[in-house]
């Protein structure tokens, strides 16, 4: 197979992938219900003592009405694995688990409580399985 043919095949596969991604991506997540949920999320963030995003429209555009990828990912084993990997520090192939600040999971819990309350138990299970500390300097 010539080099040119390989480049065309790889380029073609990438183009198909891009088309699929562009078509299936949900662009219009913003509506009245999403706005209401976003305002509720901001209130819940405030109540939890977290620094809340100020603009509900921006929140609504990311979370939509169903919590978007955050709620979709909670509950799967792979997501738990990814979450644990995200609580580590390292490079391409070697990472070490670290004790992260407790705040990093507080927001996740509030999002789950607001958008997908049925999945709060899964988040709590993940939180309980990890150690957290007060490691961010004021």
């Amino acid at each position: 197979m010539s080099h040119r043919a390989i480049y065309w095949i790889v380029g073609g596969a990438m183009a198909v992938l891009l088309a699929v991604m562009l078509i299936t991506f949900s662009y219009n997540r913003y509506n009245q219900e999403a706005q209401a949920k976003a305002e509720q999320l901001i209130t819940n963030f405030d109540k939890a003592g977290l620094r809340a995003p100020k603009d509900p429209e921006r929140v609504a555009k990311v979370f939509g009405t169903n919590g978007g990828p955050v709620c979709a990912s909670i509950g799967s084993g792979v997501a738990v694995g990814i979450a644990k990997l995200n609580l580590s520090v390292g490079g391409a192939f070697y990472t070490r688990p670290v004790i992260a600040d407790g705040r990093v999971v507080k927001g996740l819990l509030v999002v789950a409580q607001t958008y997908c309350p049925d999945k709060v138990a899964d988040v709590q299970e993940l939180v309980d399985s990890q150690q957290f500390g007060d490691v961010i300097r004021p």
Partner: protein
């Protein structure tokens, strides 16, 4: 694009969602000091550059290696620094730590930053960029180590002839096939046992230490080659080789020693068990198996006469 967590910056707390918070950056450039566990993070930093040396197997395919190779390495170093530092910094600028989801990961972070500017259509494009970057990363690891394996097994007779079979373009097809089978099994393991456990961290420590052990041999071999055959024409001749090699060996040895310190997140298990398993794994994979390969090699498996490798040194 796993650089988001690779950053030593403590997430959104650095700059939060507000521009004026950027003034607090200087105080947060270094992570909080947590005793020996902080030193251990240095080992992880070795990983950020791992794979750079893999490209050395292709050095003889360059037109002018002595000029192009160092240039390529410096360029790669600058790119790695920019890629590992800038995007996490930008993301942490706009998104406080509390808003970053651990499970949805980096794509959601990009999505939120793009939503801020009303350009969310860029999210799938960044997604594709991340996919192609991962694939390109695979390519380095697929072609590099297996090519070295082919070169040494041909010269030293370390592997049966079946593994040394190449296609008309000189690609080590059977080694690649064997590698593919083993990698697929390991990848499937992650699909069936997805929750990252203590065992996962231990295997990762063993892998890294064995890899660093290889660095020790590599630096030693480079010093030897320079001493024994200083005038042999090579693709690339590095300056101050002995100094570089001694520095490399000292830092690799320090990193191997430090990796024996169990991570502070390590749940429940006793440090002694961690050290035993990691030490045993390093002995088995890094010393016993290479010894067996040398012991069991057959002169009849040798394809080419032993000569000085053309590798860069």
């Amino acid at each position: 694009m796993r650089s988001l967590r690779g950053s030593p910056l403590p997430g959104g707390e650095v700059i939060g969602g507000e521009w004026d918070r950027f003034s607090g950056l200087a105080d947060h450039l270094l992570p909080a000091w947590n005793g020996i566990a902080s030193i251990v993070l240095i080992v992880s930093n070795f990983g950020a550059y791992s794979g750079m040396e893999m490209n050395a197997v292709h050095v003889n395919e360059l037109e002018n290696p002595s000029k192009q190779f160092p240039k390529a390495m410096f360029f790669a170093t600058i790119l790695v620094l920019c890629i590992l530092i800038l995007p996490p910094l930008v993301i942490s600028w706009f998104i406080p730590a509390e808003e970053l989801s651990l499970t949805a990961g980096v794509m959601q972070a990009f999505d939120a930053v793009f939503a801020h500017f009303g350009i969310q259509f860029l999210t799938p494009i960044v997604g594709l960029a991340i996919v192609s970057a991962s694939l390109a990363g695979f390519m380095t690891w697929l072609s590099g180590p297996s090519k070295s394996l082919l070169l040494v097994s041909k010269e030293g007779g370390y592997m049966p002839p079946w593994f040394q079979k190449t296609n008309p373009n000189g690609v080590q097809i059977n080694i690649l096939a064997a590698q593919g089978v083993i990698t697929t099994i390991l990848a499937l393991l992650f699909a069936f046992v997805p929750a990252v456990s203590d065992a996962y961290w231990m295997f990762m420590t063993i892998t890294t230490s064995v890899y660093l052990l290889m660095y020790l041999w590599m630096f030693r071999a480079a010093m030897n080659l320079r001493k024994r055959q200083p005038d042999h024409p090579r693709g690339y001749r590095s300056p101050a080789l002995n100094l570089l090699c001694i520095m490399g060996m000292a830092s690799s040895a320090a990193a191997i020693l430090i990796s024996f310190v169990p991570p502070s997140q390590f749940g429940g298990g006793s440090p002694a068990v961690f050290i035993l398993i990691v030490g045993g794994g390093i002995l088995l994979l890094g010393l016993v198996i290479p010894y067996l390969l040398i012991r069991l090699r057959k002169p009849t498996w040798q394809v080419t006469s032993p000569s000085v490798s053309e590798e860069a040194s």
